[in-house]
Symmetry: C2
Subunit: 210 residues, 2 copies
DNA sequence: TAGATTGTTAATCGATTAACAATC
DNA sequence: TAGATTGTTAATCGATTAACAATC
């Protein structure tokens, strides 16, 4: 197959694969089949083979996938060697939780600046980073080569913060506020709102279908 | 149409509609069209009409939807009048952030008990709730009629906590840990992992397709 | 009446799953 | 060789979008 357009659903599963593969190396497993992966991750084995085949032929017929090799390949696909600098706006509880989340949120992302619009927060520290005022955002983004912005402000402020990020030249935004924000094409926006997750959980608890 | 099986995607959009409708009442808007909603929420109007039509005929041809009436209907569908009691396990940063999140995480969910496996945490307070040891979980779940469990422990612990929840008779689990957990059918599990969200954001920032 | 917008059917698009030849 | 498992095509399933008659 090799490189058509890759669908969002596929890319979202790659980190899942990676996570489990990492567990496997820890327990010393050398080889894994799509069957094994599927069992563990609650996915169809054919789907897993198809996902991986978008990017190349990583397995061996009759044998399976070499765990180390597959990890390496997925890391390449997701570009996990390159470190991305991240700015976070909103130092409430959620913002604090995210910044503290071991500083490196994940493998290759590093929060290097935090901002708030509340003057009483200016100069206070969150995990070794000074809280900066919003009017320093643009300059800081450029100086530190920040490409991703995280929004953890109240819903009413989210679009405003997004606009500031866009002005500053950021290329991806992860919005935790419960509101839909807009950005020009060229700036990618993902929403990480768990309200929907909770409410739909409750819905299906009653309307059993599983 | 009215009541086939409702797909997950549909249910996940309902809270989105509700959110925006609530904003509209605040600005005093009485009536809204699927076109308006679609523009604001970045959704196709036909999709919105179809979603709503699963549950009944809420609109008026040539006019649109009455905002108040639609809010009422969606609240009924999602059963937002009934309060659900929630237990949370894991009092790290994320757990704290969630419990503090105004106590009522959303409209109708209330965290009424928090647990941790670290003895040094026992008896400390999080937002007026005493942190309890894990061996009190089962009794507390029954006593307080808790039906939903939130997991904010490290990935290695998540399945274990899920098992305890299941034993205790919980019917829905929201897992924030970066690991896939299993539960018997009858217990619904949703995953709220933002790692995937972040990594896929980064992926598409480079492989521009939008 | 003319214009707007719903509810719904039909068409399209996309994603998941099944099946199997290739081959280790 | 026999058994296992991939990569990939074809079949299926499901979700989104277009189109339009009904009607306010």
């Amino acid at each position: 197959m090799k490189q058509d357009k890759i669908s969002e659903a596929v890319v979202r599963r790659l980190p899942l694969y990676l996570r489990y593969l990492n567990e496997l190396t820890i327990s010393g497993v050398q080889t894994v089949s799509s069957q094994d992966l599927g069992d563990k991750l609650d996915l169809n084995p054919a789907q897993i083979r198809k996902d991986l085949a978008y990017f190349g032929e990583f397995g061996r017929k009759g044998v399976g996938y070499n765990v180390h090799y597959l990890i390496e390949k997925i890391r390449q696909i997701l570009k996990l060697d390159k470190i991305l600098n991240v700015a976070l706006v909103g130092t409430g509880n959620l913002g604090r939780a995210l910044s503290n989340y071991s500083m490196y949120i994940r493998d290759n992302m590093k929060i290097v600046a935090v901002f708030d619009s509340d003057p009483s927060k200016y100069g206070t520290f969150i995990n070794r980073l000074t809280v900066q005022p919003m009017n320093e955002l643009s300059e800081t983004v450029k100086r530190l080569d920040i490409t991703i912005g995280i929004i953890t402000v109240p819903a009413t402020e989210a679009q405003n913060v997004a606009d500031r990020f866009v002005e500053a030249g950021i290329r991806g935004i992860l919005n935790f506020a419960p509101s839909v924000i807009k950005a020009p094409s060229g700036v990618r926006v993902h929403h990480a709102d768990f309200t929907g997750e909770l409410l739909s959980l409750a819905y299906y608890m009653d309307h059993e279908k599983s």
